[in-house]
Amino acid sequence: MSEHELNARRLLCPMPVIRTQDRIAELADGDLLKVTCTDPGVLHDIPAWCRIHGHEVVDTQTIDREMILTIRVHK
C-alpha cells in the first residue's frame, strides 16, 4: 500500500475526474490517492466516479478555496 498525490488545481470538472481516473488506473489495490482541487464541482463528481468504480473517498477537506479528497483504491 502506498500513498500518492495529484494536483488538480485550476482544472474544471470533469478534468479533475479524468486525471483521478487515469491516475487510479496506475495504482494498486489499497493505495491512497490525495487529490487537491479548486473546482467545487469535484465534491460531487469525484465521489460519484468513485462509487461507480468501487473506490472509496475516505476523507474530504475544504481549506480556503481548495478541496482535498483522499481516495482508497479498490481493485
Binding site: R10, C13, P14, H44, D45, W49
Partner: protein
Amino acid sequence: MGKDSNIKQRKAVSLISGGLDSMLATKVVMEQGIHVEGINFFTGFCVEGHTHAIRAKDRKKEKRNNALWVAEQLGIKLHIIDVIEEYKDVVLNPKHGYGQNMNPCLDCKIFMVNKAVAWGWMEENDFDFIITGEVIGQRPKSQRKATMPIIARESGAEDRLLRPLCAKNLPETLPEREGWVNREQLYGFHGRNRKPQIALAESLGIEEYSQPAGGCCFLTDKSYSEKLSDLWQSRGDRDYELDDIMLLKVGRHLRPKPHYKLIISREEGENHYLNGYQHEFTMIRTVSTGGPNALVDGNASEEDLMFAARVVARYGQGRNTDRVVMSIKQPDADLQEVSVKPLPPSEIPESWHV
C-alpha cells in the same frame, strides 16, 4: 457443467452524453442481459459543470456531471476520455460541415464512435459492440436516415454499431443477427417528437433525467459560436487552446478595437475565475470601489489599456462618479494604479459586444 455456462457474456460500450436518449438506449440493451459500460468524451465544449463552477450565483444549485449521474442511476461504469486535442480537427475542419451554429454534429458523432472503436480498451476487454442513443430524424442535420450508415461506415464501427431506440428502422446489425440482442425488443422511434422516449422512460422506471435544450455542447449555442468566430477572426487563425474556449464561457466580452478584447466578470465567481489567469493575461481591476476584474486578450498598447480601464470602470459601483482608481497588471510588469473617468454607457456601442 450447465449449458448456460458455455454462453459468452456479451458486452457493449455505450456513448453516454448525460441526456435521456443515451440513458434509454443503454437501459434497453442492459434489460436484454448485455453487460454495458459507458464512455463519455470531454471535448472542452461540453455544457457540463463549468459555468456552475465559475459563477457564484449557480453555486447553490446542485453541481453534477450528468454523464456520471446517468451511469450511477444505471449501475454501470463510466470512462471519461479527454479528447480536447484530437477534437480540434473536428471543430476546425468538419468534412460534413456545421449545423445551425458552430456545431459539427455529424463529424462529431463519427469521431466519437470511432474513438470508442479505436480505443484499445474495448478490444482488450473483449467488448462486442457499441450503442448510441441516436434517433432518426431527431436532429435535422446529423440524425437522419441517410446519416446513420455514414456514421457506421466512417467511424469504422460498421455493423457493430447498434442504435436501440431506432434499430427497427435500420438494417439489422451484428448483435441482432447473432441473436445477442432481440431486435423485436428494440424500438423504431423517429422524428422530433419526444413523447415515445418519455413513455419509455416511464415504463423503465426512469423518473429523473436531463434533457438539454440545444444539444450536448456549447457549439450549438448561437452566442458562444459568435464568440468563437470572433476569436478566430481577430487572431487571423482558426485555432484554439483549452483556456480560450473555457474563457468564452465566462463574463461579458467586449471588443473596443480589432486587436484586443476585454473579458469582464459579471460577479464574484467569475472574478475569482479570471484571477486564475493573471499570470498569462493583462488584468484590470477596480480598486477604489466594488467592481469587476477584466482580462485583456490581444495586443493592447498603453493607450488602449488606459481606455480599457475606463470601459471596465463603467461596470463597477463607481460608474456614476467622476474618477475611479483602477489597477493594471501586465504579466511581466509592475502593477500600475490609474485614476480614470468611467466611460459613459452611451459611448459603449452595441457593436463592441461579442
